[in-house]
């Protein structure tokens, strides 16, 4: 027992994940391989999925959209992250906040914003028509362009926030060194900055791709029938057809795609980059790729130096210098603007969501605060989010504490397990939990929601606490022990007070994760246990109305306030 010591702290988290994450996912797999009637092993569901034209097409669309989204988010996000990384530390915080807020803003609010922006009579068409740029309204809603705008917008913050720590970590001293070695700026960028940021780019690509694979909110609300994605199919198979095995098979295919991508990524870069650490030693298998990569990079560098020279002659050095900040400004505007459009809409006095609002009033807030349905959903979301945050901080915090000091050879595996809910598409987790909760009688209960949301929030609390622990001075714990403190007292009087900032941040992140979640809520909540996102989703599918704008404003303001608080606490104490 004594030798196991710190590793014991990880046990509750491991047990929790085993029951509410691994087991349901495995059960889903078993379900997909079984004939419902006879219970025998069968591949029929997979054959059915891969042998039916509609399903194959949806698979193709899903991968295409996920890939396009990944490319779009990386291309738009990279220069922004690069610009952010080079800002002085003090100023960077504010601009990073402009990415953090859209990151944590609910997908529903973001999608709702695009619905009213891109609509035929929406903000964008009004502005373009009014400015005389176009003669007829553009039809972007309910088409691939609309989906892509919504998806890239939704995934961009994730991409930027994943790349940023790696870039900050490597940018600090190296480029200056390269400059003094005589490399021209173009060369410095490709051979040093870009090369060193690759693990971050890959991590961002991985997370965006996997998250996109399981997406349904954006394609359902912004796309047309031709943009149906796999997750939508899974949902309709379960909620409309009650076809569990087939839904299971579809989910398993999605999971397989996600796992294969992750596996390839791990071979090349190592999983630790996902949690925001620059990877240390090069990994196996990187050598062959390295040679190819370096050749490509030098090619790119040569091209850029040439283009740079021509451009400098054409437009002058000063204009070129503004290119990066200008890009950053445009992308930040793209991230923030749609949400800002929602705010005036919430205050409209009209019955419709026209822009600009003909007049302003608080009537839709009055509707919201006067509606038992909305308020009930809000209160329930709060209660569930609070429970989730408590549970996730305790489980994730202890796990991080345990793994920070563990020298066990299982450490890597445990680390991966705690990050896994981030890598398995949410819809897969949600479906698995739905099946499990149906057996346990937890469907449509707050407890079920808390358990499900805790699975989703665990990676965030784990990573947040692990990050503050990296700078933690363990000798303080040792000192307390030699001064006579028992293990429990060391934890309560030394470790926890010193980690307070990280714990508060982890709590708030978990809170927001739960407060925003629709995927688990879609299956597990319902009827009298509707959560706020579920209520919004039901309304958005049925009919857009100004109450939704008012609710979005409330959610947006709330989440932003929580987030700013979390950020202030995240700085380590002492």
């Amino acid at each position: 027992m004594r030798r196991l010591g710190p590793a014991l702290y990880a046990l509750p988290g491991l047990a929790f994940l085993a029951v509410f994450f691994l087991y349901p996912v495995v059960q889903l797999l078993a379900l997909s391989l079984r004939n419902e009637g006879t219970g025998e092993f069968t591949l029929q569901h997979f054959e059915h999925a891969l042998g039916t034209e509609v399903y194959v097409r949806v698979l193709g669309i899903t991968f295409t959209i996920a890939l396009q989204t990944t490319l779009g988010a990386l291309l738009l996000g990279y220069p922004l992250a690069h610009w952010l990384a080079r800002l002085p530390d003090g100023r960077r915080g504010w601009f990073v906040m402009l990415v953090m807020i859209p990151f944590w803003t609910s997908y529903l609010v973001k999608t709702f914003a695009w619905m009213i922006t891109l609509d035929q009579n929406g903000v964008m068409n009004r502005l373009l028509l009014g400015g005389g740029i176009i003669d007829a309204p553009l039809e972007v809603l309910h088409g691939r362009i609309g989906v892509m705008i919504g998806m890239v917008h939704a995934m961009l913050p994730l991409a930027v926030l994943t790349m940023l720590p790696v870039m900050i970590g490597t940018d600090r001293h190296l480029p200056r060194a390269a400059g003094t070695l005589g490399a021209p700026p173009g060369q410095v960028f490709w051979r040093v900055h870009f090369h060193l940021s690759l693990p971050g780019v890959a991590a961002a690509g991985l997370l965006v791709f996997i998250t996109s694979l399981g997406f349904f909110i954006t394609p359902a609300l912004l796309g047309g029938p031709k943009d149906t994605m796999l997750a939508q199919l899974v949902i309709s198979q379960v909620t409309e057809m009650m076809n569990w095995s087939f839904a299971g098979a579809l989910a398993v295919m999605m999971l397989a795609a996600a796992l294969v991508t992750t596996w390839v990524y791990d071979r090349l870069f190592g999983l630790s980059t996902v949690s925001g650490q620059a990877s240390g030693a090069p990994r196996r298998g990187q050598d062959a790729l390295r040679a190819v990569g370096i050749a490509i990079l030098s090619g790119l560098a040569a091209v850029q130096v040439a283009i740079g020279a021509v451009m400098q002659r054409l437009v002058g050095r000063r204009v070129l210098g503004w290119l990066l900040p200008a890009h950053a400004a445009v992308v930040l505007l793209f991230l923030g603007a749609p949400t800002l459009v929602v705010i005036p809409m919430g205050f409209t006095d009209s019955n419709f969501l026209g822009f600009p609002p003909p007049g302003y009033s608080l009537r839709w807030f009055a509707v919201y605060f006067g509606s038992e349905l909305w308020l009930g959903a809000t209160v329930r979301s709060f209660v569930v989010a609070f429970g989730t945050a408590c549970l996730a901080v305790v489980l994730g915090g202890f796990a991080a504490l345990a793994l920070a000091r563990s020298e066990s050879r299982w450490r890597g595996a445990m680390f991966a397990l705690f990050l896994a809910p981030m890598i398995v598409p949410r819809i897969v987790v949600a479906l698995g939990l739905f099946y499990l909760f149906a057996q346990m009688g937890l469907v449509a209960t707050e407890a079920g929601l808390v358990l499900g949301h805790t699975v989703l929030a665990l990676p965030f609390t784990f990573v947040t606490v692990a990050a503050v622990l990296k700078g933690y001075d363990w000798r303080l714990d040792q000192a307390a022990a030699t001064l006579g403190a028992t293990r429990a007292k060391v934890l309560l009087q030394i470790t926890i007070p010193l980690l307070k900032g990280g714990l508060v941040a982890a709590f708030l992140f978990a809170f927001i994760t739960s407060f925003d979640d629709l995927t688990v809520a879609l299956f597990v909540s319902g009827g009298v246990t509707t959560t706020l996102p579920k209520q919004m989703w039901d309304d958005m599918i049925l009919q857009l109305n100004p109450t939704l704008a008012a609710v979005s404003v409330v959610v947006f303001v709330l989440v932003t306030a929580l987030l700013v608080t979390a950020e202030r606490f995240r700085k380590p104490a002492g």
């Binding site: 004594r2 303080l476 000192a479 022990a481 030699t482 001064l483």
Partner: protein, 362 residues
């Protein structure tokens, strides 16, 4: 040292009573970190009320030994006795041992007063007593006016005193200090050495003090335990170790000396530089003569060596003369005060009295 802990002590253990006044007895304690041997089996006794320094170069296992004593590191083998009782498996917080860390390890979220009061609170002392003893401890290290400050608002020397006060305040029977003055500048270090000696005298605590600074060890210790390569080289009073080094490592680590290597033949040491008479003590085979600088005199005598002056080092109270011998070793002698140093490059002779040298095995 290692051979000392034979079966006899096991018999003592069975009687259940401490044989000597040994406060702390380490019996064959060993520790490895994977392939790295941090401690070979070592044995050591620390007497009640003494200040013993553990001296050794970096990586010799000093910190590991301290951590085993206070229970932060579990040894792979061997046993640890405090007051004659086996404490090898006792948890850290029950051991009644104080540890002063190299970088103080003050709790940054607690004030100076709260830091010092921490061990008393952990022992459930009543609030009034805590206040009283904290005040007394602060007065002892002359920091009474800083009780309300946080550690980051103190200078390095002040932080160090808080760490000392936090350790002395609960009067542990044994106090371990791991290079407590390592981060301080020379002047402050010497001042703090005096304070530690004073605290030691006033409290009568048994102190084990780790350092890699031989001057500090000589200045502070009742006894020195010299470590090298995860082993104990020699234990003794500073005078003993200085005057009677048992290995060439001891001779060169504590103070400076001239080493003449050769082979023992009869009653002489045969070296490339000639035959030299042996002092007392019998050894066979390869050995070396250790001669301290103050025992070497210029000119020919009983045992004479010749060399060429390579350097003179002026060190305030004395001047040292370095000269190269024919076999490539450098000899060191202390010039008598007031004597002019010979020019660099001149040939010199030096001699010593046979019994002033020490014979050590190679």
């Amino acid at each position: 040292m290692e051979r000392q802990s034979g079966g006899g002590l096991g018999a003592v253990q069975r009687l259940g009573a401490p044989l000597s006044q040994a406060k702390l007895r380490i019996d064959g304690i060993a520790k490895r970190y994977g392939p790295v041997v941090a401690l070979e089996p070592v044995s050591l006794e620390v007497r009640t009320g003494e200040l013993m320094t553990i001296l050794g170069p970096s990586g010799s296992g000093k910190t590991t030994l301290l951590q085993v004593i206070c229970g932060l590191v579990e040894p792979d083998g061997g046993r640890l006795f405090i007051d004659g009782h086996d404490r090898t498996a006792m948890p850290v917080h029950q051991r009644d041992i104080g540890l002063v860390f190299q970088n103080y390890a003050l709790f940054p979220h607690l004030t100076v007063g709260e830091n010092i009061g921490f061990p008393l609170k952990m022992r459930g002392r009543p609030a009034a007593e805590v206040r009283e003893r904290v005040a007394a401890a602060l007065a002892m290290v002359q920091l009474g006016h800083l009780a309300a400050r946080f550690p980051r608002e103190l200078s390095g020397g002040q932080q160090q005193r808080v760490a000392l006060a936090r350790c002395f305040v609960y009067q542990p029977a044994i106090i371990l200090m791991d290079e407590p003055l390592g981060a301080l500048d020379r002047q402050l270090r010497e001042h703090m050495q005096i304070e530690i000696k004073k605290l030691h005298r006033e409290t009568g605590a048994t102190i084990v003090y780790v350092t890699h600074d031989q001057e500090e060890a000589l200045a502070l210790s009742d006894r020195i335990c010299l470590m090298n390569h995860a082993r104990i080289e020699q234990v003794g009073t500073p005078q003993e170790i200085y005057a009677h080094p048992r290995t060439t490592f001891t001779a060169s680590f504590i103070g400076t000396s001239t080493l003449l290597r050769g082979v023992v033949e009869g009653d002489a040491l045969v070296t490339p530089l000639g035959r030299f008479a042996l002092p007392e003590g019998r050894l066979a085979g390869a050995a070396a003569l250790v001669i301290r600088p103050e025992h070497l005199r210029l000119g020919a005598g009983e045992n004479t060596i010749e060399g060429v002056v390579s350097e003179t080092v002026y060190a305030g109270a004395e001047t040292r003369l370095l000269f190269d011998l024919a076999d490539g070793t450098t000899a060191v002698l202390r010039l008598p005060t007031g004597m002019a140093a010979p020019e660099i490059g001149t040939a010199v002779q030096a001699h010593w009295a046979t019994d002033a040298a020490v014979l050590v095995p190679l």
